[in-house]
């Protein structure tokens, strides 16, 4: 009996020690920023490559950059205290906020030509999809998924129509699957993948993001944890400023932006230039379309609370 008590105690102690892990404090002052892969993150890329933020931050501050593969990973890293700022689509931000994540949006990065691309000749509208057709997109709850649901509601009255025909794939895998013309008949994707797909013979866009939404919207925004923002609002305001400058820079001098970015995106300069100046690819820090997302997601129970736009933003 005594040995049982002793072993149970031992197990307790071990577990308590482990449960305290992953919470070590940061000694020097550091801002950790995560982005994902895609053309929409070009302003962030410029800041990172040119070390703009590092030069503008007060003394004693450093920057750590991370590249994460999806928004869920960004949210989880923020929750575990390993991330201060992350860039993502608006719907995943709303889902996190709705579930009780303490974070706010402080900027947008761009509007972008997202859309649904297919190779099947007999598909003209969403209602042409058959049961065996599969649509690849990053994940449920992503901006691509929400836009598809919006369009499905508009065209067929059933926002969940495609929920059982979705195949979750990162953009590059989705593109490969679509191009191989196998069972993936359509791909809801974003730049630069959408451009690559549309350049292939026989691939067409049958639904654009703007059509789905019924207006324009910010594709990617930047979010910061309340913890960080309350402690260091001045740092976030510096970050906002440099993002604004980078956005202006890309819009006013795309050639120069391309020369900085080409190596990073691994594209020839002329190709990247074409993509960066593609119609609908507008870099801007102004957050737009948030209300439409909230309204749709609330109505269809993707989020529970009726969020007001004002509470979502910093300042």
């Amino acid at each position: 009996m005594r040995s049982t008590i002793r072993s149970v105690l031992l197990i307790f102690i071990i577990i308590i020690i482990f449960s305290g892990c992953g919470k070590e404090g940061k000694s020097e002052k550091k801002i950790i920023i995560a982005e994902q892969y895609g053309l929409a993150y070009a302003p962030v890329q410029i800041i990172r490559l040119e070390k703009i933020l590092e030069t503008r931050l007060p003394k004693g501050w450093s920057v750590e950059w991370k590249k994460l593969s999806n928004t869920a990973a960004i949210r989880e890293a923020m929750l575990s205290g390993n991330l201060d700022v992350g860039f993502m689509g608006l719907p995943p931000f709303l889902i996190g906020y709705d579930k009780g994540m303490n974070w706010k949006m402080f900027t947008a990065l761009c509007e972008a030509p997202v859309g649904l691309v297919t190779w099947k000749d007999d598909i003209m509208t969403l209602s042409d999809f058959k049961n065996e057709d599969r649509i690849a997109l990053p994940q449920p709850g992503s901006i691509q998924h929400i836009l598809l649901s919006m369009a499905a509601e508009r065209e067929t009255g059933n926002p969940g129509l495609f929920d059982n025909r979705i195949v979750t794939m990162a953009h590059p895998d989705g593109m490969n699957a679509l191009l191989s013309k196998n069972d993936i008949t359509a791909h809801f994707t974003s730049p630069p993948f959408i451009m690559k797909e549309l350049e292939e013979q026989g691939f067409r866009m049958i639904l654009s993001g703007n059509d789905a939404m019924g207006g324009s919207f910010s594709f990617i925004g930047g979010a910061v944890t309340d913890d960080f923002n309350n402690k260091y609002p001045e740092i976030i305001s510096i970050l906002s400023d440099v993002i604004g400058e980078a956005v202006d820079f890309i819009e006013t001098d795309p050639e120069k932006a391309v020369s900085i970015l080409a190596e990073n995106y691994n594209f020839p300069e002329d190709e990247l230039y074409k993509y960066l100046t593609w119609e609908g690819m507008n870099f801007s820090t102004e957050i737009s379309g948030m209300n439409n997302f909230i309204e749709f997601m609330h109505k269809n129970s993707y989020i529970k609370s009726d969020i007001r736009t004002g509470e979502l933003y910093t300042k």
Binding site: S19, A72, S80, I95, Q139, S142, V167, N182, I184
Partner: protein, 256 residues
């Protein structure tokens, strides 16, 4: 080191209680460390409203199909390999090529070759089943004592009869070891595959369930999914494998 179903479940309950004690005493965000109540609530609504049992049955159905197919294939390969030394060396090489390859590692290739449907998931879990199974069947088949074959010669047993009445029962401990490894491997492969490319054929399994909970930040739901996986594993091991084992090879003294 054997503990029965009851003891394991007891420990499981112990850890659930421990979970709650730590949660109450510590200051954790419910998004990281949800309460036991919310996890259990999520578990119950999953069962009543979201058909998690159907998804589980779907997953286990796929695995059953893969286990049967993999076992039959393994026997065919091993039988074939015993007909010629070339085939024998071929099988041995195939096993050493493919045995170390985790099912999930061949996922990109499988998607390229046969898309993202049920067929691909089946290919991946059959791959996870086939090679450990072949290794074990091979060991069982090669380990048939000479006096068994001489006995069969003495009474002029037919090849089919020898296979059914001597090879099969003699190989049972190996088949069982293979089945256990294969089950564990295929279960993992299936869950990983579903977490990577989602629902197969419009009907996701338990991996997809966890994945969709993750993307919608339903943390209690993630834990509920994990609990379902753990309980399924325990139940299958205890009720299925151990039961059959107890009534066959353990009863025959072929394993201790």
């Amino acid at each position: 080191m054997k503990s029965g179903l009851g003891v394991k479940l007891l420990w499981f309950v112990f850890f659930l209680i421990l979970w709650e004690i730590i949660r109450i005493t510590g200051d954790f965000s419910p998004l990281v460390y949800p309460s036991l109540k919310s996890i259990l609530y999520s578990l119950i609504t999953s069962v009543t409203n979201e058909g998690i049992i159907n998804q589980l049955v779907f997953s286990l159905g796929l695995i059953t199909v893969a286990l049967i197919t993999g076992t039959v294939l393994a026997f065919l390969l091993v039988l074939g390999s015993h007909t010629s030394p070339i085939l024998d060396s071929l099988l041995n090489s195939l096993i050493s090529f493919f045995h170390p390859l985790p099912g999930i590692a061949i996922l990109p290739v499988v998607i390229l070759w046969s898309g993202t449907g049920i067929k691909s998931i089946l290919i991946i879990i059959i791959h996870s089943v086939l090679w450990p199974m072949a290794t074990n069947v091979y060991a069982g088949y090669s380990g048939i004592p000479e006096n068994y074959t001489l006995f069969a010669k003495n009474y002029r047993m037919s090849k089919i009869r020898f296979f059914a009445e001597i090879t099969l029962p003699h190989s049972m401990p190996y088949i069982f070891a293979g089945l256990k490894i294969s089950f564990a491997r295929s279960w993992r492969a299936l869950i990983s595959a579903e977490m990577i490319f989602g629902a197969a054929g419009g009907k996701g399994g338990i991996g997809w369930y966890i994945f969709s909970k993750r993307v919608f930040m339903d943390t209690p739901g993630i834990y509920a999914g994990l609990i379902v996986i753990i309980l399924t594993g325990i139940i299958i091991e205890e009720l299925f494998f151990n039961y059959i084992e107890k009534n066959t090879i353990r009863k025959w003294g072929m394993i201790n």
